[in-house]
């Protein structure tokens, strides 16, 4: 029971991180109609920036803030240099062009930071366990991740639903020509949205940095997960992305934790320990396939698409 609670919290944390990535992806897709495979590269770049700035400033918080700003700038630069030219083209072009960007970023990171992975030390005040229930301890940093991600989600909701910029973003998603015709600088809006998406990816990367080793290609696996999330949630829908990411995070984490035990009930221990990791890796893809077969547009298709 204790383990289940802990795994659920881990799942929630993974899910919320996925949401940070998926929100950027789904915004970019919903508004610019752009499939951005290089989104995972921005996540990776965010983590590397965090490692460097933390080492330079000696403080994780200062490093994180600087990394966030740097990733935002990188994202906007990528938009201005490359992405802008891909709007309005075929999705296949997007897949190919951004696949090229992944190769570019991976090698660039290898060139700048070297092939070895980096680690980011946690400040002492985050590197403790706090009681969440009487007698049950949970790492403070993971709770911090959950809190930050939840507040970002809330902030994003407020920005998109309650501010003028958010109104323009929603308007751009449903009819971009009209927004342009009404005198809005749509190009600036696109750069801004892409930058925000990049910053969200960078935030996910830098928060993940102290938990995992910062390494080349770290963005690719989680990118595929983020795509699974936005496909399940329905492309272009932030609400769908939120629900789907928590769902996917829980299924993945809880599946990995409990499938081996579950399998041991029906097969020999040796067979179970061989089959369970493979099946638990497949679980979310299976989930996505089932969702798509039943609802080809995802669970919460954005209106007007």
């Amino acid at each position: 029971m204790l383990l289940l609670l802990e795994q659920c919290l881990n799942g929630l944390q993974l899910g919320l991180l996925l949401f940070l990535l998926a929100a950027g992806l789904t915004l970019v897709f919903g508004i610019m109609d752009l499939v951005n495979l290089a989104h995972g590269s921005l996540y990776m770049v965010g983590a590397y920036f965090a490692a460097t700035f933390t080492a330079l400033t000696g403080s994780f918080m200062a490093g994180a803030v600087l990394a966030l700003a740097a990733t935002l700038l990188v994202g906007m630069a990528v938009e201005v240099i490359a992405m802008r030219r891909l709007y309005g083209r075929d999705h296949l072009d997007h897949v190919l062009g951004t696949f090229g960007l992944i190769l570019f970023f991976n090698e660039l990171v290898r060139l700048v930071w070297g092939p070895a992975g980096l680690t980011v030390p946690l400040p002492a005040w985050l590197n403790t366990a706090v009681p969440i229930l009487p007698g049950i301890y949970y790492p403070a940093y993971r709770i911090a991740i959950i809190a930050v991600a939840l507040s970002v989600a809330l902030f994003l909701y407020l920005v998109v639903m309650r501010t003028r910029v958010g109104m323009l973003i929603r308007a751009g998603a449903s009819n971009r020509e009209m927004v342009g015709a009404l005198g809005i600088n749509i190009q600036l809006l696109y750069t801004l949205v892409f930058g925000i998406g990049a910053a969200l990816a960078g935030l996910a990367g830098l928060m993940q940095a102290p938990i995992l080793t910062v390494s080349i290609g770290m963005g690719e696996n989680i990118l595929i997960l983020a795509f699974v999330v936005i496909i399940i949630g329905g492309i272009g829908s932030i609400r769908g992305a939120f629900i789907a990411s928590v769902f996917v995070g829980l299924v993945d984490t809880v599946g990995r934790a409990f499938l081996p035990e579950l399998f041991k009930l029906v097969m020999s221990p040796a067979a179970a320990s061989a089959a369970a990791p493979a099946v638990s890796s497949m679980l979310i893809y299976l989930l996505m396939a089932i969702v798509l077969v039943l609802r080809p547009e995802g669970l919460f298709p954005a209106p007007g698409r």
Binding site: L92, F99, I102, F105, N106, E220, I231, A278, S281, V293
Partner: protein, 331 residues
């Protein structure tokens, strides 16, 4: 379609002649690395040609085509591991398994459109990838060495590099010819019509789903054959051969070569894989005056050049190599 003399057709003919003469060159110079490289190129070209059947002509962008390479390869590897080395058993079985997987994956995936299709094919490929990782009896993550290539009695000896190369080339040409006939047949017209306007095709009475599914299965089966050949070529199968970046590579080959024609992906596969070999050397040479001794290291970072080049191809050379050759005729 009549054959006429144009730069594009001349280039294709020259290319095929060059491919046929590769082993001769290798025997004369003793450079057998080249033969091995071109065997790989021919095999992956077959996979790219098969992908282009659904992608270029059918408008179905499969981001999981490397899975069929893996299925074909693992069918050979697993049978060989279990002591069944006869190619007459291995090959048909591998093709049947590939076709079966393509049938199931296609039947489910073709319910979706656009990006959803791209992503659901990716999801299925990832599932198959993890099955490969989980096959601990057959090496799991580390892969499985094949100690004996497929045996065909005394008919052909696959261990002979030259024979194997010509077998692969022959199968590739047969594939290209078969697909060329297919896309120009009534069946192919329906597939291409469904890409342009599916609703209209349905309105005039074609059950497009069935046509597209059949096309998907044909493509997957051919790709499975490429997997069978690749397993025999490397004497090794591992989950890495169906990693999602492999599927990306296949898309790159098809688009780089040009999706508008059957031969395009062949150009693309050759260009991409030769480029992969040549680019590091090229960077080292170009970098030497500027970087001095560091140039040797710079070659390792060739993908930093490849990435932006892909982007440039997408932006400025929409029709790929084939498209450029075709436009030369008009100029």
């Amino acid at each position: 379609m009549t054959w006429h003399l144009s730069i594009r057709n001349l280039a294709a003919a020259a290319l095929l002649a060059a491919l046929a003469l590769i082993p001769v060159y290798c025997h004369l110079t003793g450079n057998f690395f080249l033969l091995s490289l071109f065997t790989r190129i021919v095999i992956l070209a077959m996979a790219a040609v098969s992908l282009n059947l659904i992608m270029g002509f059918g408008g179905m962008v499969s981001f999981g085509h490397a899975a069929y390479i893996g299925i074909g390869g693992y069918a050979v590897g697993i049978l060989a591991h279990e002591g069944v080395t006869s190619g007459l058993v291995q090959w048909p079985l591998a093709l049947a398994v590939s076709a079966l997987f393509a049938l199931v994956i296609g039947a489910l995936s073709l319910r979706t459109r656009g990006v959803y299709f791209i992503m659901i094919t990716l999801a299925f490929a990832q599932m198959i990838y993890y099955v490969g990782v989980g096959l601990s009896r057959y090496g799991g993550d580390d892969g499985l060495t094949i100690y004996r290539r497929s045996q065909f009695g005394g008919l052909v000896n696959l261990s002979n590099k030259t024979v194997f190369y010509y077998l692969c080339l022959g199968l590739l040409l047969a594939t290209v010819y078969g697909i060329w006939r297919l896309v120009n047949s009534r069946f192919g017209m329906v597939i291409r019509g469904a890409r342009s306007n599916e609703r209209r095709m349905r309105a005039i009475g074609f059950p497009t789903f069935r046509y597209r599914l059949a096309c998907f299965v044909i493509s997957g089966t051919i790709c499975g054959l490429a997997g069978v050949l690749l397993a025999n070529h490397t004497d090794f199968v591992s989950p890495a051969m169906m990693h999602w970046t492999r599927s990306g590579d296949l898309i790159v080959m098809a688009v780089l070569g040009g999706m508008g024609s059957v031969l395009g992906p062949l150009f693309g596969a050759i260009a991409f894989l030769v480029f992969e070999e040549v680019l590091p050397i090229l960077i080292t040479l170009v970098g030497r005056p500027f970087l001095g001794r560091a140039a040797a290291h710079a070659g390792e970072y060739w993908q930093i050049v490849l990435g932006p080049m892909l982007l440039l191809v997408v932006l400025f050379a929409r029709g790929g190599i084939d498209g450029m050759l075709a436009s030369l005729r008009r100029a």
